[in-house]
Amino acid sequence: MAYKIAAAIDIGSSAVRMEISEKRKSEVKCLEFLQSPLYLGHDTFTQKKISFEKIERLCAILNSYILTANNYGVEHVETVATTAFREAENKEYVLDLVKLKTGINIRILEDPEEKTIIYREMLRRDEGSWKNAVISYVGTGSLGIAIMEKGLIRFTQNIRIGSLKLSEILEPVEGYTKKFHMIIEQYISTYIDVLKNLLTLDRKTNFVASGKEIDLIASLMDVEIVNNFFSIPKKAYQAFYDSIKTLTPMQIMDMFDLPQERAEILLPSAALFKILMDFSKSEVLIGCNIKMCDALVYKELYPNKFDKVNSQFEKSIINSAIFTARRFKYDRQHIAAVFDYSTVLFDSIREIHGLSEREKLLLQLACILHDCGKFVNLKEHYEHSYDLIRRLSLPGLNTRELHIIANVSKYHSELTPMPEHENYASLAAEDRVLVAKLSAIIRLGDALDKSHLQKFREIDALYNNNELIITTKAGGEATLEEWAFSQKSEFFNEVFGIKAKLVIERTI
């Protein structure tokens, strides 16, 4: 067939949405976009659970969506859920119930995953015009900020104050003060101020805002949207903000003819964008009209193009890992050496380990972050590395992947994986194998720069006859490396069933 149709459902905190789109040559043609209000966030953020009524309603909505998708012959509908689901204590039961009643498997996106999907889609659409930017995405349940430098993301931060959440949290205060907006601003600033210490931004930095709240603000301000983008000058935004900041939700409802739910979250989200714009120092807000479903559907319709976009995005993941390592005062040359050596080793025994590109990325990230624990204490630094990495938030990685990186980092030096290690035992069986394999590689990579002196400029690795021969050149002695290599190759041998040999050619 010359064309393809895909559908995706996004279960958000205030609505369920579905997009059905068709691939027409190089453009995506949206056939249908459905949106049904459903305030799951209200349940989760106040009761910590999704109520039975909402589950019933959700199932009814999903069943009607499936019917619509079937109208176009679409059988499989990728279905994702975000904050409201993620934070519900009863999410497991809900998933099961929904599966029973609708046949749909909901994939709950972790916060960074959700943001990644959005950032990646934004960067795809922007096609590289933002070099330096503060990118923000306000969902109803959470706020995501990404700082981009020279075309790559170097820092991301997710904060659990989305528009709806903010209004839920601050609701009790609202009645007490006329300066409610100041409370909101101060509350948000406590989060943003931390970032100021980490980053220095200048006027050349773009400020990009996305999420349906900024879309709403744009439509209230009568801003024209061209190809999913729009821009609002800072002065105009400030004027708009000033015109609504002292209004009550009721007054906002009347003024803009909005339903109550939307009116309630307008002020908190407007405040959020104001603070972020001030933080970015930019004179213009660039709005990006983007929906989760757009990104999901694109991936289905254009798998090849998506892979390209994704591999570009992986550069950003590495970039932000480096930025993180820098915050922990990393040894740049050592990290680079371990990164390069491990990469060569990984590539040389592809047929032995059978791992994917994504897993190679995990290895590389572990190479970058493996020593960050030294920032805490040199003694048992690998334990601290493990603890720190687990708590990091890197764009594009989910908890599982982060946990794998943490494990690999833990096993890069002294320890090897043991069933009695809780961190290791808690992994899924296939992940334990993965950790063992990646650890085996990083251990050799690390051994090759044991002295942190980068004695080898580069290495070659050739797998042949059950032997991995690593050849390299050294100007001087490399005894420490040779000793470390022989120590670490034992585990390598155990994991892969092959011998690793180090051959050093003396150049002098």
Binding site: A2, E22, F33, P37, L38
Partner: protein, 677 residues
């Protein structure tokens, strides 16, 4: 300028009664074929029945609830009831006068005679008595009334005979219901060239002694009770709308009585007895000079055979060469296509549905049905489509008044066939006439659309003037898909690209469009509104039209039924002209045409300018963008505006006057105009 003065408005009920008088006018019109005039007599009756069951019942409810707020014309519910009763009394006497003095003799002259039992020949009497014994008697149930047997329940709209009986010195009443399973009018075998008919109640009365052995029959009086029959469904609590409506339909016959029709006779005693027992006021009593319930004449008018000259000449609807020569998909891919029923055949719609049901590339069909005919080919096509594995979604409006029972039965059929049937929206009647077909084609998904001003009903498509519009424009498809999603699921309606949807956007659209004309008029640009609809009653819209008139907007309205606006009032509506057309076909199409500073906007659709259409129904208007079709509609409006024979002009005092006939009957012109389009 204050446009809210009561004197600027006509009461909605009285305006409707005016409309029914215009229908009666067709019965009185000697240029109308005789059997058709008889049919109009019956339509006047069935119209009135509905009016009593819904409107009069509603006014009475308001009155009982102590509701005294006047309507825009300044009348309180009780004043409205009073005036309506006076009007209806006049109308009914005029209706029977027409039937008795004009139609009966004229029919007799043509060889069609309503006879009476006494006038039957011996052979005829024998035949009729046999008919009574074999057919009527077994289904009769006389109900006696005495101390031990209270007054029986008289079901809504049934014709009954009250007998006053005497045994020795005691007086009794007994009631016999005329069975509705037997035709009301019975053909009596007569000579070759004669058609002779008898009302069933004559036969029963004459044979009544067989029902009441041992009693002397003092008198017999035919009567009929009309009851409040508006469904009141608590949709919020209704778990299953389908069964809830089924139950309500059964309960309809239990509503409070709102009218008593009595044969005018000598027996004051029986009249007093019935009136007091039913608890009705003097105003609610209608003494009938003849047989009660003339709606039975509708069936009768089809009975005599061989009287072609007494009916309208056959006017077979046209099928264009384009429709018969190519597939509807190809036709719609090429261009937008408009059919004007009944001048053009409903076949185009059926062909589209049939092709969709059988085409292997069609994935899905979605349709909203309001009223369909019995054994409807539309329903058949949908069932076949479902059997062919298509995804068929049907929106059934169960609340279509007085069609509920009918709708429930075929809704069940559709469900059994595997269609996905959705029963309307809580609080909103789905009145829009919409059909969407999703087809997989080489270049991708293509969606085909039909939207109309009338129901998907092949039978009424021969009697009602309506438009059907076919298109495959993408922007329409996107809007219509969203509308269907909202109606069948739980989605919100996104911003529409082309369609205007009630209840969300219709009122706003009318406001904007009228204000736009006002602005143009004020700036000295051409400003004009030409609209055709069934009813105009929404006070908000009327005020806007007055405003527009004062600003100099020229406004031409063709309104078949209710019109609460008064045209031609100095400084209020001097630029507004209103006419009504009532004739062979029921004018049903809705056209809204705005000058828009020179680039005329034309919208067709399902909505009238009534508050219920704007606020409580799901209606769809759609723009006509094809220039040729636009021109055609403007021409049609022009023909209707200049037709004289079936037109009545509304005057500033709220009365309708007929212009002199010039032989320009619109439907004849339009029939010619619609050939090969």
């Amino acid at each position: 300028m204050d446009f809210t003065k009561p004197s600027y408005y006509t009461n909605r009920e009285l305006s409707w009664l005016d409309f029914n008088s215009r229908v009666l006018g067709e019965a009185l019109d000697e240029s109308v074929p005789l059997l058709e005039r008889t049919k109009f007599i019956s339509i006047v009756s069935s119209n009135l029945d509905e009016f009593f069951m819904v409107r009069i019942a509603g006014l009475k409810e308001q009155m009982h609830a102590g509701f005294t707020r006047p309507d825009p014309s300044g009348l309180t519910p009780s004043q409205q009831l009073k005036s309506a009763s006076v009007r209806i009394h006049e109308m009914v006497s005029s209706q029977y006068r027409c039937f008795n003095r004009a139609l009966l003799p004229a029919l007799h002259d043509k060889g069609i005679t309503f006879t009476s039992y006494e006038k039957l020949t011996e052979r005829q009497t024998e035949y009729i008595n046999d008919y009574f014994d074999d057919i009527i008697f077994p289904v009769l149930t006389p109900m006696a009334i005495d101390a031990g047997r209270p007054f029986p329940f008289i079901a809504n709209k049934t014709v009954n005979i009250a007998f006053r009986l005497q045994k020795e010195t005691n007086e009794h009443y007994a009631i016999v219901r005329i069975p509705s399973v037997i035709p009301r009018i019975i053909r009596v075998p007569a000579g070759l060239n004669d058609e002779s008919y008898l009302f069933i109640e004559d036969i029963i009365t004459q044979n009544a002694s067989r029902l009441f052995h041992g009693y002397e029959i003092v008198s017999s009086t035919g009567f009929r009770v009309t009851r409040d029959a508006d469904l009141s469904i608590d949709e919020d609590d209704a778990v299953d709308l389908l069964s809830e409506i089924e139950q309500q339909v059964r309960q309809r016959q239990w509503g409070l009585p709102v009218r008593l029709e009595l044969e005018r006779g000598q027996d004051i005693k029986t009249r007093t007895f019935l009136t007091s027992t039913l608890g009705l006021q003097q105003d609610d009593i209608y003494l009938i000079d003849g047989y009660i319930d003339m709606s039975c004449l509708l069936d009768f008018s089809a009975m005599p055979s061989g009287f072609q000259d007494l009916t309208y000449p056959e006017n077979p609807p046209a099928v264009s060469a384009e429709v018969s020569s190519k597939s509807m998909f190809d036709l719609m891919k090429e261009k937008d296509y408009l059919v004007h029923h009944p001048y053009q055949s409903f076949e185009a719609v059926m062909k589209f549905l049939d092709e969709a049901a059988d085409d292997p590339d069609v994935l899905a069909i979605k349709q909203a049905l309001y009223r369909v005919s019995g054994n409807s080919p539309v329903v058949q096509a949908l069932i076949r489509a479902a059997q062919n594995g298509k995804q068929v979604t049907v929106l059934v409006e169960l609340k279509a008044r007085f069609d509920e029972e009918n709708n429930i039965s075929w809704a069940r059929m559709l469900e059994h066939a595997g269609c996905h049937v959705v029963y309307g929206k809580v609080g909103l009647k789905i009145h829009s006439k919409i059909l969407l077909v999703i087809r997989r084609e080489k270049s991708g998904i293509k969606r085909y659309i039909h939207m109309g001003t009338g129901n998907y009903n092949d039978k009424t498509a021969r009697l009602y003037t309506d438009f059907g519009f076919f298109t495959s424009r993408e922007s329409f498809a996107v809007d219509l898909s969203s509308l269907f999603n909202t109606l069948t699921g739980y989605t919100i309606i996104p911003e529409m690209k082309k369609l205007i949807i009630a209840p969300d956007g219709l009122r706003t659209f009318f406001k904007k469009a009228i204000k736009n004309e006002i602005k143009n008029a004020q700036n000295g640009n051409p400003a004009r509104i030409v609209a055709k609809m069934n009813s105009l009653s929404d006070p908000g819209i009327i005020r806007l039209l007055y405003e527009a008139s004062c600003a100099g907007v020229e406004i031409h309205l063709i309104i078949r039924g209710i019109c609460c606006l008064k045209p031609g009032i100095k400084n209020v509506s001097s630029n507004i002209k209103v006419k009504s057309i009532v004739g062979r076909y029921l004018e049903h199409s809705r056209i809204f045409c705005f000058e828009n500073g020179g680039t005329t906007m034309i919208y067709l659709g399902s909505a009238d300018m009534m508050t219920r259409n704007l606020d409580r129904r799901v209606e769809a208007l759609f723009p006509i963008e094809d220039e040729k079709i636009k021109e055609r509609i403007i021409d049609i409006l022009d023909i209707l505006w200049h037709e004289t024979d079936k037109s009545r002009w509304l005057k500033s005092d709220g009365r309708y006057t007929r212009p002199g006939k010039t032989g320009s009957e619109a439907h004849i012109q339009l029939h010619d105009f619609s050939q090969n389009r």
